[in-house]
Homo-oligomer: 583 residues x 2
């Protein structure tokens, strides 16, 4: 044993024990014949002390050569500190060191290994192993471990079995792009990496496993936005002989367990909202319900009063930014410009200000009487001091734009505290959505999602109206998980493939094994998957998932630390029966 | 809720409750106006009963259409069985069914869904989802889940943190072939799938994580022998500030915990054997110590007595097959032929039979006197009834051949009971082995393994003699895990790369990031990895790992169920900047 204790372990009860500690040099102070060293490891920091007269000259010479991040072993006696440090657990004691050993010297790190670092993103990624030494980053990964641990504890207690599904599977054309893997033993053929274990978990249900889960890596070869990773982790779950209600209850149980054990938060019952209501009242399918500020539709009140913009609009819709009547003309102009940016693309922004003195001022005063404005105000329950903001235009667009504005106003009003958590189920998603570009229907969730039984007749008449037994869990406006009741009968699955434009041949080639499996006794089943990286980042109160992944890739899909991807040898290419066509 | 109980749950205490069960039809018996159905799910089997007079004609008609593996829901009342079935947990009750619903019909399965099936390997793999319904296969996966669960419980209790390392990494030339993944965003470049997370776990130690583990998929593109899989699972572990002794103790703790919790076996202290002794006394580095039958070297006793074969041999070595003196001449001839097969390649087999009547008979009587043979017998502690079997030739070959013979005799003598477990540490492996074909030295474990400190001087004089701080855990003659103390200082790592014939450029290109990391304060560290599939199969008392993997691949690396790998589209190839060269 190199050490007797960790650097986070010693207390006043250890006084006068002989100990050996190992760790990294965080700081050295050398003053008036005394040298102090802060020694750090994963568990904490312990102060070492060296004193001329008490410490041998040899050891003093050695300690004076120490630099930041040197790895040392120190042996000595635990003594009481004169000036205690309440901020650290070991702050009551220090080690009067008899001997030190330099286990490994260290070059000066390219950035500070402290909570607040001076390292930029690029540098921190290149030296990720040093970044990971920093307390906040290490805490993120400890949190990740804890969430995984508690997830397993809960699901194990509910008789779920973790089953590993294969990573080398088969490429399918539906969905995002697959990463593929050329097979040396099967020339010209390729495996694909799974975007999710969807078909395998369904097969496990057909196998009678009844309750399955897996914390599993999945892969998507998509153009990476700021917060996407080519490899990501899911908590993947499936249950047999259940209905949607059972799944919602089970995973409401999981999320409550996680909040309780990880955050010490007692979550109340998780409310449910239909997709239709989410769109109508929040303009998006993942509303942030930490604050209200619901959409109010105004067509009946405002149209046919001579204001052409509203008259021509499919939808006139607004929100009440309560308490914002003090906004100056300049502030409102600035907000209007913000809405007009290409990312949002609003044509304009109408306001009605309910001043503190009881007067009303709007940007459409010339079209609407005070009575008109008051009537609008009533629809919003507006009171003195409120500011109503109104958007108009094509309905979907207007809702999307107003969603952005609502979230922005929520930020400005401090209504989106990352340490307050509001969980929501969004249910009754549409089964299908029409791709204008491709001129065909797409599965909104995936092709295995079951329509609501009462909507099945609509499959022959009005595809856009068919609702699915599909559900998302939304926390603070972020989708953290989603799933559906699955189709488990061959004829309905065949019908779905037809609707999605699969030829019989394609369907058979891609999913023949699943269709066949349906014929051998498939039970009703349903499931869902949580985005584990996202879930953990929410628990950590952070925006980006990257800080919760040990070795993330950058926006070009590169690992800049190990310099991957990279070229491979001609021999490797030859053995795999492939050529590179890129220059 | 579709069901109120599972098929393994009902007991006499549930009498007269109204229940709903769901499951698969295992068996239907129709006799004298009564119909019995065995309904099966993951949790057990419950008997349903239908009786003319008590059951409506409708329901009776329906139950008479049921076939094997139909999925049904049955509602009824729990009643006491007249003839109880002690073999199943629910055997005291049955359900008098009021109503059934056929949730999904089933075609007749291609093989029997029973403990003993009539399905061949190929068919079972193609319909793996049906094979997984069979009790023994399901039990294997439940066992796998339990071993994973208990592994995590133990390692969590020892402050190990599970950290996910990337799956898309960088190809390295050392070791087995990598699977590679072309990168669309980085044309002409490739990721590789990890053969192990070796460098990442070392970086985590450099990051100060102190104790890391991961149950993780790894990949090797090797020609598949009967019991290899292209993707396999490891329990991967690493610790900082430890010596070999600490690692052995920690993972001896893990294996004891697993045997205790999974098999209810109290494992005694795990013995240790040097690699040198393993080779000398068992002729292999993973001896099966469930039985003794140690090698005895005979050169001094048998050479220079006129028997040319022994005189010319580098090594004469034998075993005592105790109690086999009754072997007939024919049996010994057959054993000799078995040894001469090309797989083993022995030139011959010498025997000395210590008959029950005290006489001695050998195949080399004309070269050795009775005194000579007695002296040999003494070396083996041979007694009346024993059969000594002797091999000679080049030392390494003779040991290898005798190892095969020893294991074979162990089998024949019933000394290798799969339900008896003997665990062993093999230590002090050589650091390097010479590849005759390539005419260079290879790392026996991997290039990051540390030599024993006392053997470091030999790096300049006698590479073949350098021992490593490397260790394997062997259970019943199977290597289930292995690891080493790692090099953590740059100069020694550089020296290793030189010895392994890496140019400076290559070393830098492949492992530059690790070498650089060593300069920023790398702690001493060591670790190991268990082959999880293998470990679980041993716990299951089975030979093949395939039965402990939910969806295994065949010997050509194919998943015959989903028909993967497969061809991909020209568009996919184009986007990935590759061509296929195979016809």
């Amino acid at each position: 044993m190199l050490r007797t204790h960790t650097c986070g372990e010693l207390r006043i009860s250890n006084l006068s024990e002989s100990v050996a500690l190992c760790g990294w040099v965080q700081k050295v102070r050398d003053k008036g014949g005394m040298v102090w060293v802060d020694l750090r490891d994963r568990y904490g920091i312990t102060q070492l002390i060296f004193e001329e007269g008490k410490t041998t000259a040899d050891v003093l010479d050695k300690v004076r050569t120490l630099g930041r991040e040197f790895v040392i072993k120190a042996e000595g006696k635990v003594i009481e500190r004169l000036s205690k440090n309440d901020k650290i657990d070991t702050g009551a004691v220090e080690i009067l060191v008899k001997n030190i050993e330099i286990l490994n010297p260290a070059k000066l790190p390219p950035f500070l290994i402290e909570d607040e670092t001076d390292g930029g993103d690029e540098l921190r990624m290149k030296y990720r192993y040093l970044d990971l030494r920093r307390n906040p980053v290490r805490q993120n990964l400890l949190l990740r471990h804890k969430v995984a641990q508690q997830t397993r504890i809960f699901l194990d207690s509910q008789q779920f079995i973790e089953v590993e599904t294969p990573v080398l599977i088969k490429s399918t054309p539906e969905g995002a792009r697959d990463f593929v893997v050329p097979s040396r033993m099967n020339p010209g053929e390729f495996y694909a990496l799974p975007q999710s274990p969807q078909t395998f978990k369904q097969l496990l249900m057909i196998s009678g496993f009844d309750r399955y889960y897996q914390i599993v890596k999945c892969f998507r070869d998509e153009d990476l936005r700021a917060d996407r990773q080519p490899e990501f982790t899911q908590i993947d779950c499936e249950m047999s002989y259940v209905e949607q209600e059972d799944v919602l209850n089970m995973f409401e149980g999981l999320i409550k367990h996680l909040f309780k054990t990880v955050k010490e938060i007692d979550l109340p019952e998780v409310p449910r909202m239909t997709y239709a209501d989410a769109m109508k009242f929040y303009g998006c399918d993942k509303p942030d319900i930490r604050f209200d500020m619901k959409f109010v539709e105004l067509n009946e009140l405002v149209q046919n009063k001579g204001f052409q913009v509203f008259d021509d609009a499919e939808l006139v819709v607004g929100i009440n930014a309560s308490g914002c009547a003090e906004y100056t003309r300049k502030q409102i102009d600035e907000l209007t410009e913000w809405m007009k940016r290409p990312q949002i693309g609003a044509k304009g922004l109408v306001y009605i200000r309910f001043n503190a003195d009881g007067t009303i001022k709007s940007s459409v005063d010339k079209f609407y009487s005070e009575e008109d404005l008051k009537a609008i105000g009533e629809k919003f329950n507006a009171k003195a001091g409120d500011l109503i903001l109104i958007i108009s235009g094509q309905a979907d667009k207007a809702r999307k734009q107003l969603n952005e504005l609502r979230l922005e106003m929520g930020n400005r009003l401090g209504l989106r505290n990352p340490n307050e958590y509001k969980v929501l189920w969004v249910v009754d998603f549409p089964l299908l959505e029409f791709g204008e570009e491709e001129n065909r229907w797409f599965a909104m969730h995936h092709p295995f999602t079951a329509p609501k039984p009462e909507d099945v007749p609509l499959l022959d008449s009005d595809l856009g109206k068919v609702r699915a037994n599909a559900y998302d869990m939304v926390i603070n406006g972020t989708e953290v998980g989603g799933g559906s009741v699955r189709i488990f009968q061959k004829p309905l699955q065949q019908r779905m493939f037809e609707i999605l434009g699969f030829s019989d041949d394609e369907a058979k080639k891609q999913f023949g094994f699943l269709m066949e499996a349906f014929e051998y006794g498939a039970p009703p089943h349903a499931g869902l998957a949580f985005g584990f990286d996202r879930l953990v980042s929410l628990f950590g109160g952070a925006e980006s998932i990257r800080d919760f992944i040990a070795f993330p890739k950058n926006n070009s899909g590169r690992d800049v630390m190990i310099d991957s991807p990279s070229s491979i040898s001609d021999l490797q290419l030859k053995e795999l029966y492939i050529n590179v066509t890129a220059k």
